[in-house]
Subunit: 383 residues, 2 copies
């Protein structure tokens, strides 16, 4: 089996992820932050260690401003629903995932929020000036993805951050794609909120994610409940990260995420990026030589977080991914990737797109086999 | 280490929970419901198998009415915030957890919802007639816990269910405590919504939980995002369980939860209940002989889901749990257990309560050692 669906979830994980999760589950997995017994404290220590590692990775000063969530979707919903009010205006892009678009469209329809969705060029590149020009006096929030989950294009997030900061507008970065392999410094990106999954580029398990919130933003929580702190209060406490972390955390998952982030830190983002870039370029070059193929991803590795998205003209993407899976045991994703506006933009709503997304554990041999297999499939279409 | 904090999270889990999670993580953990390749389908199959097992355990006809959540708190927030509107009246009890009280108090303060909190007797028993008498023509929802997380008292959930049904009122059961060892039949309880954690009595890992919603209730989701279905829609799809399951699920966690539920089904709830009852009664009897001790839990196993809650008069609960941990390596929970109204009721807001909560893997020898240890601690207080 060759796994090239890393944009959906990374596979495999570093071995330490499996072993840390197993160790946590078998030896000390009590409820973190509930009770003060040895095992509960061991669980809380694991949670805090992971929180510290993520803060270090993102260059966030105070790790307590990072709350753990079950996935990036929860983080994005907290950020969007918890920071906007009726009358606010939001700017986002046509390259966003449904985890951004659906909450925003719902607030637009029912919550009195105005929404501007800026366009992109043929490769999905957003022009920061389009965002700047869309700002009005009610603009409260700019939401942008770090990189597209459809075609891998990396967004001009620093420029957008500057525009947001210069105009006193909150800036929410959806770091679902690219975190863990794109060098990241919050002091250059100026994001006020960062939503991220644990199970993609951070190499942790599913069931993990998080949200950084700048202390300047007073957020309404999405959920309320037991926090293990200020238990006497009948309302949610204001203290972070408890305010946004109601209920029992996923301790074994967070233990695994900690091991994933540690793997990245030990190996270095640069090295992981270089490896992914080489694989992506090799894949891109191999596929681009095939007749009758249309590639939607940027050729330059500098602009691409690790996706080669393509179609055979006139062929449904599901058919190609089906053949790749059944005939060649290559796992990739077809369809709309939960990003309908990007597909409207690429005019691929009907066909979808075949998306190959590499991870740091893929090999050149795997890439070559994938190219070979797509070549063979292409021949079938030419007959 | 003797673990007696099973009301916070069960420990250990059946060995199959660890092995199923590890197998999932290492061999097939792609994104379930995203893409149609072999590994993605294997992940989706695991998710569906667990869903089916839980449906069978709760005697729910259509498993698709069960959505997975990260914990019971998320499930309770969806149920409460997604089914209530301004002008509605809700009835709940003083024995509820903050995961019920905090969302309800917030809706009362900001959402135009009226709230009635009924009292209880000295052991936390709620009289269903108090609930019936609180019903008015705006009453939309009754929320009640299956059993108290503070003292283990099992609630008259069937009688309350009948009252709800007879009055056309939605009935939300918080099954956080007791599920997995209390025989459960939705057809007798008549719950319209059931919120449950995966990591307590169901013996799954942290990071799992779920919400059953009767098809008669049209719920607003708490989060919106990618569902892997109807990806072309810019709004949340109505189909269940997708509507309430945005973002990537915790596949390895759900694999573990499936193994936990299978363990319960193979062994039988009756047998697990019997084992827990024996341990609880042994613990209760042993502790009740100690001078100067006040027990807050019901003596009868029939009324108790597996908790012996106690205090030494005039001693802070944290001190006792500290001594149990440090001197005897016994893990239990002191404090308010995120249930402040129950502690107001027991007049223990200042001292908290020492809570010993047994699990099906505790032994008689462990119980005897705990009794002995508490005896020794008691002697210290008498000097």
């Amino acid at each position: 089996m060759i796994y090239m669906d890393n944009a959906a979830t990374s596979f495999p994980k570093p071995d330490a992820v499996y072993s840390e999760m197993d160790k946590c589950l078998r030896t000390y997995c009590a409820n973190p932050g509930r009770g003060s017994h040895t095992m509960s404290i061991a669980s809380a220590t694991t949670v805090n260690t992971t929180r510290e590692r993520i803060a270090k990775l993102l260059k966030i000063e105070d790790s307590l401003n990072i709350s753990f969530t079950k996935n990036a979707t929860e983080a994005l919903n907290i950020a969007i629903c918890g920071s906007l009010s009726s009358g606010d205006h939001v700017i986002t892009t046509c390259m966003e995932h449904n985890s951004v678009i659906r909450p925003l469209k719902t607030l637009e329809k029912y919550g009195g929020v105005k929404l501007t969705i800026v366009g992109a060029d043929s490769l999905g590149r957003v022009d920061p000036q389009d965002i700047r020009k869309s700002i009005n006096k009610r603009t409260k929030l700019i939401v942008c993805t770090l990189s597209s989950n459809v075609n891998g294009i990396i967004m001009p997030v620093e420029e957008i951050g500057k525009i947001a900061r210069n105009n006193g507008i909150n800036y929410l970065l959806d770091a679902s794609q690219g975190l863990g392999s794109i060098e990241f410094d919050i002091n250059r990106i100026h994001a006020d909120m960062i939503a991220f999954p644990g199970h993609k580029g951070l190499l942790g398990p599913q069931g993990t994610g998080g949200l950084y919130v700048s202390p300047k933003i007073r957020m309404r929580p999405l959920m309320r409940g037991g926090t293990g702190s200020s238990s006497e209060l009948l309302y949610q406490p204001e203290i972070m990260p408890d305010k946004l972390e109601s209920g029992t955390l996923n301790t074994p998952g967070i233990a695994g995420l900690g091991a994933g982030v540690e793997f990245i830190q030990k190996n270095g983002i640069d090295k992981i990026r270089k490896k992914k870039d080489e694989l992506t370029v090799r894949l891109f070059n191999g596929i681009s030589r095939i007749n009758n193929i249309k590639i939607f991803s940027p050729e330059s590795a500098e602009e691409n977080s690790g996706i080669v998205a393509f179609n055979f003209e006139g062929v449904d993407s599901s058919e190609v991914s089906y053949l790749l899976d059944k005939q060649y045991k290559i796992e990739c994703r077809a369809g709309l990737h939960c990003a309908p506006l990007a597909h409207s933009h690429f005019k691929t709503v009907n066909s979808g797109i075949v998306r190959l997304s590499v991870g740091c554990f893929n090999t050149n041999d795997e890439v070559d086999f994938v190219i070979q297999s797509i070549n063979l499939i292409a021949k079938g279409y030419r007959n």
